[in-house]
């Protein structure tokens, strides 16, 4: 049984992110950042899951995560990303984008850079004095891309005071999330079920490609790209469906997998083991999807708590000619051959699980019931 530690932190957690480990090091994840929302005072905080010599100060048990430091954050923390080892980028509901710097010597956080009105409305009678929530941020040193409810895309560069590039009215509806596809290209999802690819080399405010769900226009809330196969993209929608897309072909998802009962807030491929995928949802569940084909029939014990996926696939990629070995296990749509095993990771249903992050064998997630869950043995 996997051990999962819960800690109640007296604030609703909107985002949790592992600090990246230095490339090439053998270290496992030991620090994560968390952001809160809907509080009178919101915070960005750093937590350690280190052992502290097996004995921590307030007699908590060994696996408990401890607060390292925190700092006030104006507005809800809408998104959080590590820029590098020391810097964290936070997106605020006030439209502000802040870069926080962590000082490991005295364990403090400070503001190192801020773009105050990155996202704003231009309407005549804007009730909120023009500011629009920034909903998503993605970093690829030295670039930072943000999207917001104002349908705007900003490209910032660390150490540049102004935005390097801004696409106004990039989307007629709210942009919910953003991720890098290939370096100058980004991928956004919006509230009318569209997946858009933008190329910063192109001028103008038109996306280079639009992919969309058919008909229903179900809002998409999250997006993640396969770490090795950059054309494979997973998104999660308002109806809790998981969609797998192949952005090279077609304008529709390759497969639609019935998943959660409410909004899927985040989806993440495992960075080093991409046959594994993790999703969390408003319905209070956190799922581990295992599509590794070489795994022998698992015992039903492992599968308890989860449920088998039902494929409602639009078999677009049914071309037999392609080498099987090259196709990602996520794109093959033969339900009989590749059963995806789903495991529910949280012991009991809680309020919404807003965010999750995976790194190596570690997983962290934050919930509206003000608890942060951490497990260090994902694949035990």
């Amino acid at each position: 049984m996997e051990e999962i530690y819960a800690k109640f932190v007296s604030q609703k957690i909107s985002k949790t992110r592992w600090r990246p480990v230095p490339p090439g090091s053998l270290q496992t994840a030991d620090t994560f950042a968390a952001g809160s929302w809907d509080n009178e005072e919101n915070y960005v905080s750093l937590w350690s899951i280190g052992d502290f010599g097996n004995l921590d100060s307030d007699g908590g048990f060994e696996g408990d995560h401890q607060l390292l430091c925190d700092i006030r954050h104006h507005g809800d923390v809408m998104d959080l990303q590590f820029f590098d080892q020391e810097r964290i980028v936070a997106a605020s509901s006030t439209g502000c984008v802040t870069v926080f710097l962590h000082h490991p010597n005295n364990q403090t956080l400070s503001v190192s850079q801020q773009w105050t009105a990155a996202h704003y409305h231009t309407g005549p009678g804007s009730p909120s004095c023009g500011s629009a929530p920034c909903t998503g941020v993605v970093c690829s040193n030295p670039e930072i891309v943000t999207v917001g409810e104002d349908g705007r895309i900003n490209l910032f560069r660390a150490d540049h005071k102004e935005a390097v590039r801004t696409i106004d009215n990039a989307d007629s509806s709210t942009l919910h999330a953003v991720t890098f596809l290939r370096t100058p290209e980004i991928l956004t999802v919006n509230s009318i079920g569209q997946l858009k690819i933008w190329d910063f080399r192109k001028q103008g405010n038109e996306p280079s490609q639009i992919l969309s769900l058919t008909g229903d226009r179900v809002p998409l809330h999250c997006v993640d790209r396969h770490p090795n196969q950059q054309h494979v993209v997973a998104t999660g929608g308002q109806d809790g469906m998981l969609s797998i897309w192949d952005v090279r072909q077609g304008t529709m998802p390759v497969s639609l997998l019935k998943a959660h009962e409410a909004e899927m807030w985040e989806v993440h491929f495992h960075p080093s083991n991409p046959d594994h995928l993790f999703t969390c949802s408003e319905d209070g569940s956190l799922w581990h999807w295992d599509a590794s084909t070489d795994v022998p029939e698992k015992s039903s014990l492992f599968n308890q708590g989860g449920r088998n996926s039902t494929f409602l696939s639009h078999s677009i990629s049914n071309q037999a000619g392609v080498h099987q070995s090259l196709i990602s296990s996520w794109l093959s749509t033969d339900p009989a051959k590749d059963r995806i095993e789903i495991t529910s990771l949280l012991p009991s249903r809680t309020l919404s699980v807003n965010s999750l992050d995976v790194l190596g064998p570690c997983l962290v997630c934050g919930t509206d019931s003000e608890a942060i869950y951490v497990t260090r043995q994902l694949f035990s």
């Binding site: 109640f8 007296s10 604030q11 609703k12 929302w37 809907d38 509080n39 009178e40 307030d58 809800d76 809408m78 509901s93 409305h121 231009t122 309407g123 005549p124 009678g125 804007s126 009730p127 629009a132 929530p133 909903t135 409810e149 104002d150 349908g151 009215n169 989307d171 007629s172 509806s173 709210t174 919006n190 509230s191 009318i192 569209q194 858009k196 639009i210 969309s212 008909g215 229903d216 226009r217 308002q238 409410a262 909004e263 408003e282 009991s348 249903r349 809680t350 309020l351 919404s352 509206d368 019931s369 003000e370 608890a371």
Partner: protein, 654 residues
Amino acid sequence: MEELDGEPTVTLIPGVNSKKKQMCFDWGPGEMLVCETSFNKKESETKPGCPFIYIIRKDIDVYSQILRKLFNESHGIFVGLQRIEEELTGKSRKAQLVRVSKNYRSVIRACMEEMHQVAIAAKDPAIGRQFSSQVSILSAMELIWNLCEILFIEVAPAGALLLHLLDWVRLHVCEVDSLLADVLGSENPSKHDSFWKLVTILVLQGRLDEARQMLSKEADASPSSAGMCRILGDLMRTMPVLSPGNTQTLTELELKWQHWHEECERHLQDSTFASSPHLESLCKIMLGDEAALLEQKELLNNWYHFLVTRLLYSHPTVKPIDLHLYAQSSLDLFLGGESSPEPLDNILLAAFEFDIHQVIKECSIALSNWWFVAHLTDLLDHCKLLQSHNLYFGSNMREFLLLEYASGLFAHHSLWQLGVDYFDYCPELGRVSLELHIERIPLSTEQKALKVLRICEQRQMTEQVRSICKILAMNAVRNNRLGSALSWSIRAKDAAFATLVSDRFLKDYCERGSFSDLDLIDNLGPAMMLSDRLTFLGKYREFHRFYGEKRLTDAASLLLSLMTSQIAPRSFWVILLIDALPLLEEKEVVFSAEQTYELMRCLEDFASRRPVWREPGVQRIQEDVENTKLEMLRLALARNLGRAIIKEGSLEGS
């Protein structure tokens, strides 16, 4: 008039002077009172109104950072309890309920410990005291809960009851453990200053095995008293107790206990321990001698410890129904008329009397939050202990308390999400309360709005869903985000608003000559049918797309049908007719003769209904421009008709 159960507490509000007839407002269901104050007098003299208001909240505990953990963690337990299947009956159900009760208690304990840590770490002594008082409140809560668990949930029978009560006392009078470690840690335990104090406490708590070990240490150290120690130790060893696995009946136990009691008495009469006052007093305690017990008042700490010790050594098989007699007399004896009972004493006494309602009532008055009574009452209700009791207002007591608690949560800017589940489990008034509260959640971001919407949609609260979507759509319009506004009105199925937004789109088109937000309009799908204007918007855009893609015949018939089906607003007809011009001027004949007739009819229809301008000036010029356009159209139509007739005639011929 209802009788008051106690003086209401007075809250002083700075700046409010009741003599000056200042007003306070009870602020909706938000659990707060808003008062005008006389601060900044100078400014308020010049203009009406007051510069400062003071907000008083009913339930301050909700705002404690540490208690938030209690609320969140217990929320999970509460929801779990509601889902305990009704089929579970008898033993398994009881075991479940006891487990739930223990879970609640462990959450209180965890909270208490954290509060304790904070109190110790606090640099400011005032804040430290504040936390310490919170610790004592939490500890009292746990004490009451534990007793209720023993008496009402566990419903222990005679015999077992006393064992539970002993555990209860041991759990809450826990200084002894540190003392024990201290004494055992010293070089010569029996010479330790607190040695006899420790042994006495152990005996008072019925921890006779440990007491015996301590005595054996004393026996080793001073050979003169070794004999006495051995005799008392034997008495301790032979005291008959009910062990859980044992099958002996209560009568057997009573008989054995009687024998043992007589033996103790004999030793006392024979003055076996006369040379050691310590041992003698221990023997007296074991005989249940009230005077000897009361001598140890300081070690007993409180009357309920006295009660349990007294029962242990005089009535070990006490029946639940007799408890209250002993409880009352123990309280009286212990206080000895020197002080009056405190609220906690009254609550415990009420519990010993099995008066659940009194317990809950006293707790409601004494404690500063609803958390305790709401959860305890709910649990007791699941034990089917409260069914007969109905209040003269609202619903039953459980529901009343849960509603109060949940309303307190909803008044909090962040904890409102927890409140939802509590309302869900209030069958009578929960839904109405939720409807009232949910509409008052400020929707700062779309994400928060989505969470609120999900709550409403799961409960089929269509009215609230509509109103939330409308608010969001309205905000989007104000922010010039027409695409967003349209999405929200489609989600709300709000035809009127969709029409309004569509009009804005068409207006923008007229002004700029191009459409905005194509990604949305091109993908409306079935949602287009929501309102006529929206359908028109979608179809008109489709016409533009056909035209752009050179699908002229499709474009032409679509354009015509927009007019003939009366779906296009009158004001837009000129634009549609003028849009027909390039199609009429195409080299190929696009409109058939039939279609041309239709178009002509539309044109004349439009021209005849046109308002006639009477005033001169700018409008005159506008009319002239329009007239010219119409003349051009008539000409183009006539030419097209001619071409179409020729073409159709020659086609038929061939």
